[in-house]
């Protein structure tokens, strides 16, 4: 099946270890099969590092953050502003259908990623940020955990495009 979308990279964030506030990068080096230079899941210091999984790089759609801020009309008070620096995923994207990319390869600038599994939200993030309802708000749209097939340097603004299987 051919996919026809195209999107781009908005933000890159990393943190040196579990629970430490994320910091934004103007560029990042991704290392194939390992992770992002300086990030907790490359260093083995992440909250979930003790549990092996595909987590070399994590992505989330800015469209999800916008939907969270919009809230759910039928559940007043659920609107939540989640800044890109707070969601603890590495890459914030626009125009990329992440839920459709499990098992698929796609390009971010010069880097090639492969969708591993849909990210599952955790109470840990909700507790960490003190935002009640965030866990439910992110169900089924919490982003994508990926492996890195081809490493390289990426920057905000880089195009994100699907690759043929």
């Amino acid at each position: 099946m051919t996919m026809t979308w195209s999107g781009h990279l908005l933000h890159i964030h990393i943190a040196p270890s579990a629970s430490v506030e994320m910091e934004e990068l103007a560029q990042a080096r991704l290392i194939a099969g390992r992770g992002i230079e300086g990030d907790r899941y490359l260093l083995g210091t992440g909250t979930y590092s003790a549990k092996p999984d595909i987590r070399e790089v994590t992505l989330i759609e800015v469209e999800v953050l916008e939907a969270l801020e919009q809230g759910e009309p039928k559940v007043p008070g659920l609107a939540t502003r989640l800044e890109p620096i707070d969601h603890r995923r590495n890459l914030t994207t626009r125009g990329v259908p992440l839920n459709h990319l499990v098992g698929r390869r796609f390009r971010v600038g010069e880097v090639v990623l492969k969708g591993g599994r849909m990210n599952f939200p955790c109470k840990y993030l909700e507790e960490l940020l003190g935002v009640p309802g965030l866990y439910e708000g992110l169900l089924n749209r919490s982003g994508l955990n990926c492996s890195i097939e081809v490493g390289g340097v990426i920057r905000p603004g880089d195009p994100i495009v699907p690759l043929a299987d």
């Binding site: 579990a18 629970s19 430490v20 506030e21 910091e23 909250t47 979930y48 003790a50 549990k51 599952f120 955790c122 109470k123 840990y124 507790e127 960490l128 940020l129 003190g130 866990y135």
Partner: protein
């Protein structure tokens, strides 16, 4: 213990205080407001070598631009306070957690007696700010050997002579002063106490005639129970009344699964909260890092937490 965001804060100001204390003001380099704290809260300070030290926030909780802590140099301590004294200067950065509070003011509207021993004045100053702002009646009693060695006395005295009493005594004199102060339990009054162990013991003794719930102490809990040795315990199921024996080397969630109970789970290291369930009776040993102190009263994380004796689960 629930997780807290660790922030790289900037030292806005340091000032030496009486009693070999360094007063430190911290700000966030990028965000105008810090995570909110209630009076009595503390932060975890993460030292570069990985050690963690807890310090009460002493400033007005309404001021969210700055966290203020006071670090007493502990000559015989483990070196954390010495490192902070030697390395903190304006412009330095320090890894600091968002605040947590095990020493909350109660919601009751009664009078508060704040009893401060030495550097233990820090959370009580934050309480004095909160009580003053709420228009509540309080007295802050400051105990020290002498004026010259009493940290933050000037800040305390700014609340006015009607609200602040300083006591300069040696330990036997402090004991007598506390006995005189607490001889008669006052219905509706609550005592909040923080200070060195000997001081808190003296308060406990002097307040022995007071109801337990009216006397509260700040007691820092270890972040990680080192050397924890798991022991077998029993789970009793509400639905069937069945008892499951959890051996020392296995997790409660495994036994639940074997009994055919479908418990959702994800991380299985006590951080994600997916396997949370309720408990109805028993003495859990909470070993997760996700439940809040409040949730721990009736919730249980079976992938890592254990219990003493039999724990009745709402399953």
């Amino acid at each position: 213990m629930s997780p807290r965001l660790i922030m790289k804060l900037e030292v806005a100001q340091v000032r030496p205080e009486a009693g070999d204390v360094l007063l430190v003001a911290l700000r966030h380099p990028r965000r105008p407001l810090l995570p909110a704290a209630t009076a009595g809260a503390h932060v975890d300070v993460h030292l570069p070598d990985g050690r963690v030290r807890q310090y009460s926030l002493l400033g007005d909780p309404a001021d969210r631009r700055t966290y203020r802590i006071a670090v007493k140099r502990e000559a015989g301590g483990r070196g954390g306070s010495r490192w902070l004294h030697d390395n903190l200067a304006a412009g330095a950065t320090l890894m600091v957690s968002a605040p947590r509070n095990h020493f909350e003011l109660s919601a009751a509207a009664g009078r508060c007696l704040l009893l401060a021993g030495g550097i233990g004045i820090t959370p009580l100053l934050a309480m004095a700010h909160a009580l003053a702002a709420a228009g509540r009646d309080f007295r802050l009693h400051v105990f020290a050997r002498g004026r010259a060695g009493a940290p933050l006395l000037g800040e305390a005295e700014a609340f006015g002579p009607d609200r602040v009493v300083a006591h300069f005594d040696d330990p036997p004199g402090t004991r007598l002063a506390l006995e005189a102060l607490l001889r008669e339990p006052e219905p509706g009054t609550e005592i909040y106490c923080c200070g060195p162990a000997g001081f808190m013991d003296a308060v406990r003794e002097a307040a022995s005639g007071w109801p337990d719930e009216a006397v509260r102490f700040e007691a820092f809990q270890p972040l990680h129970a080192d050397g924890f040795v798991p022991e077998p315990f029993d789970i009793v199921l509400r639905s069937t009344g069945a008892t499951l024996r959890v051996p020392a080397g296995r997790a409660a969630i495994d036994l639940l699964r074997e009994a055919g109970i479908d418990v959702p789970s994800s991380c299985e290291i006590g951080v994600c909260g997916a396997c949370v369930c309720g408990y109805l009776a028993g003495s859990p040993i909470h070993r997760d890092v996700v439940l809040s102190p409040r949730a721990r009263r009736d919730r249980f994380i079976p992938c890592v937490s254990r219990a003493v004796g039999a724990l009745r689960l709402d399953l």
